[in-house]
């Protein structure tokens, strides 16, 4: 296995600037696992900014991957709008989850307001502290900006939200409006403190076609995503990373119409072929899409083979390509399996 010719930082910067790389970068979508390999409770990734950053940096150094380090979680939104969450301190829990949705009734939904003080809403204090540490260390400053429909599920409860999409669409639009206003206000806060050129906005988007039809995506997700992506791009945000989670093939034509800051990065699950992603986002970096289940349950050889396949499919994408898992690396994945991803980049990803 040849030694790398670039450091991780050089590789990341070259990817962002659309320059030549020594090999395919490995950008990990990895949160709770970094706590586990540090011998810390998974919850620290979410409720303790300094510990989270330290765990993520230590894991990145050990495995030798090239990013990402960020603060956020899929089930965000509910906490920020006054709901309650539980951090993953209990056995078998892997990420924060909403234990009480702030919207439990149509009346709650109709009365939903954007929190007055954004800086103290839900996870924002920890996220802000995390961003300040990133800034201090010269790293990209990350901010979670949605997606609105995913957050709406966290606010209303997914089982409640889905019937409302059909029976109370105005109520859902009202909630989505408030979420969008919150996200835009949050972004302004970040831009005022850190400037747009260091910022990497990201959204974790569970608008899968297994839950929502493409028509529902077009009606309830797309307009708000378009507004957020457009405004953040206009504000000069350097990088916009979207994790298009799960089966979203029928949503791709909408996703491809969005702005993605100065440099777009698209992460897809194994349900979307890298070729389809490449065609939909020719100018963006495509990231994907090693099956997290195989990373958790497979043998190192199986993980390596999947990585080889992904690299072969994505390596020559004109917008740039990075190897990534198809969704978050499972917290309890065997480290020897996780290590296969960087190994694969070195073995099969040379340019």
């Amino acid at each position: 296995m040849g030694g790398d010719k670039m450091t991780s930082q050089e590789r990341w910067e070259a990817l962002v600037r659309r320059e030549k790389l020594d090999r395919v970068p490995c950008l990990q979508f990895i949160l709770g696992h970094t706590a586990v390999v540090n011998g810390k409770p998974i919850a620290k990734i979410y409720d303790d900014a300094a510990a989270s950053l330290a765990c993520q940096r230590n894991a990145m150094e050990m495995y030798g991957y090239d990013g990402l380090i960020l603060h956020g979680w899929a089930n965000a939104g509910g906490f920020e709008f006054g709901g309650e969450i539980e951090y993953p301190y209990r056995r078998y829990t892997g990420a924060p989850m909403v234990t009480k949705n702030p919207v439990q009734s149509e009346e709650d939904a109709a009365n939903l307001v954007v929190p007055k003080d954004i800086t103290s809403a839900g996870s924002v204090p920890v996220a802000l502290e995390f961003s300040r540490l990133q800034y201090k260390l010269g790293m990209p400053v990350t901010i979670q900006v949605g997606s609105p429909l995913t957050w709406a599920g966290s606010i209303c409860g997914e089982e409640r939200l889905m019937p409302w999409l059909i029976k109370k669409p105005d109520l859902v639009h009202h909630v989505l409006r408030k979420i969008t206003d919150f996200i835009l206000a949050k972004t302004e806060l970040w831009i005022n403190e850190f400037g747009p050129e260091r910022m990497m906005a990201f959204d974790l988007c569970i608008e899968t076609n297994k839950l929502y039809s493409p028509r529902q995506f077009e009606t309830f997700a797309f307009p708000y995503l378009k507004e957020i992506h457009g405004k953040l791009t206009d504000m000069g945000v350097a990088i916009f990373l979207s994790h298009i989670c799960g089966e979203q093939n029928k949503n791709l034509k909408f996703w491809s119409q969005l702005g993605f800051g100065k440099r777009g990065m698209i992460s897809v699950g194994k349900e979307i072929t890298l070729q389809a992603a490449s065609e939909a986002f020719p100018a963006c970096v495509i990231m994907g899409h090693v099956d997290p289940v195989v990373i958790q349950e497979g043998t190192p050889e199986q993980v390596l083979a999947l990585c080889e396949q992904s690299i072969a499919e994505g390596k020559n994408h004109p917008g740039g390509y990075a190897l990534m898992s198809g969704c978050e690396v499972p917290p309890q994945a065997p480290p020897s399996n996780v290590a296969q991803m960087v190994k694969a980049c070195r073995l099969y990803g040379q340019y």
């Binding site: 030694g3 790398d4 390999v37 011998g39 230590n58 190192p300 020897s336 290590a339 190994k343």
Partner: protein, 352 residues
């Protein structure tokens, strides 16, 4: 961090030949942990040579350390002489333990026999299978042959043996003699099957700790037998020994100096023996050690890194050569990021 300019094999090869490697090599002394980072049951390291070989290689690749797989466990001996063992499948168990000692009574001790076919005794079939894999992959063939007192403790039961050393010394000598005969027979078989050149004799001396026995007891019960066994193995042509002098053995060091260790020895020490002392006592041997395993388990990455740096700075220029190592087996549940600090320390502070 500077890049490595040698492969692990080149690095270890250089140290063994007395040449300068690119940086201090790292051998963590690691068993159960390898299985856990590969997502396998810890016991596979001890009861399944193929899986053991595989997970040890994967861990070496994950961390980037230089050691190659080996088969051994501290509590060896009892099973080989007809006792029972339990492999660590239970929660919180970390290595193979003897559940029935074959010489639990004076009568059993007196009647103890050296197994006729050593290839079928206890863990030997597993150890030999591992050795065949090592041979096939052109790695050092490790041969676990002691230590003599640790094995005898495993045959008799440690608490019983310690009492007999005072009250029934002749009984302990009788068992020590049988264990020594067994170990030489093992060595003869290994040399016959693999030839002497690739063999590295591995001695894990745990029960010899001065927290269990006095230096005088070491002189009486250990020195004659370990010298006899090691000399016989050397006479068979085995040139390389790896001795882990476990725990508090400062008062035994002068006696260990008298033990023959072939032409080239790696002497590994726990936290209790200062590396400076070890270097003075064994100027021609490769010294390996001695990052505290408790720190690797419980400490912060920065603390592990700092202690590894101290070890490197103390021993890096030892004329006999130096290898960074944990002071004993890396605890199976140690956080991987802490284990990685050993390699990081070598890359940051161990350049030649």
């Amino acid at each position: 961090m500077m890049r490595d300019t040698m492969t692990s094999a080149e690095r270890m090869g250089a140290v063994m030949k007395g040449e300068k490697p690119d940086r201090v090599p790292v051998i963590p002394f690691i068993f159960g942990h390898c299985a856990l980072v590969a997502g396998q049951p810890l016991a596979c390291v001890f009861d399944n040579p193929e899986a053991s070989f595989k997970v040890q290689l994967q861990a070496a690749e994950l961390y980037g350390y230089d050691g190659t797989p080996l088969y051994a466990y501290a509590s060896a001996g009892g099973w080989e002489f007809g006792g029972d063992v339990e492999f660590p499948y239970k929660k919180y168990s970390g290595a193979t333990v003897v559940t029935r000692h074959p010489a639990a009574t004076e009568e059993e001790a007196l009647n103890l026999k050296v197994p006729e076919d050593i290839t079928k005794a206890g863990a030997l079939p597993l150890a030999l299978e591992m050795a065949r894999l090592q041979m096939k992959h052109h790695m050092p063939v490790t041969m676990h042959i002691g230590s003599i007192l640790s094995w005898t403790g495993s045959v008799i039961g440690e608490e019983r043996m310690l009492t007999w050393m005072i009250r029934k010394p002749e009984l302990v000598h009788s068992v020590l003699d049988k264990v020594a005969q067994f170990q030489v027979k093992v060595a003869e078989h290994y040399v016959k099957e693999f030839g002497p050149e690739p063999i590295m004799a591995f001695v894990g001396a745990a029960t010899e700790s001065n927290r269990l026995i006095s230096p005088k007891q070491f002189e009486t019960f250990v020195l004659p037998y370990v010298s006899r066994v090691n000399q016989s193995i050397s006479d068979l042509g085995v040139q390389v020994f790896f001795a882990h002098i476990c725990g508090e053995q400062n008062k035994n060091l002068k006696l260990w100096q008298k033990v023959p260790f072939g032409k080239r020895a790696v002497m590994s020490f726990g936290r209790e023996v200062c590396l400076k002392t070890a270097m003075e006592m064994f100027p021609n041997s490769i010294i390996a050690g001695n990052v505290d395993p408790s720190l690797i388990q419980e400490g912060k990455p920065e603390e592990v890194l700092d202690q590894a740096r101290e070890c490197i700075e103390m021993a890096k220029y030892h004329p006999g050569g130096y290898v960074l190592m944990s002071g004993c087996d890396v605890p199976p549940l140690a956080p991987p990021v802490n284990v990685f600090q050993l390699i990081k320390a070598s890359r940051e502070f161990g350049r030649y």
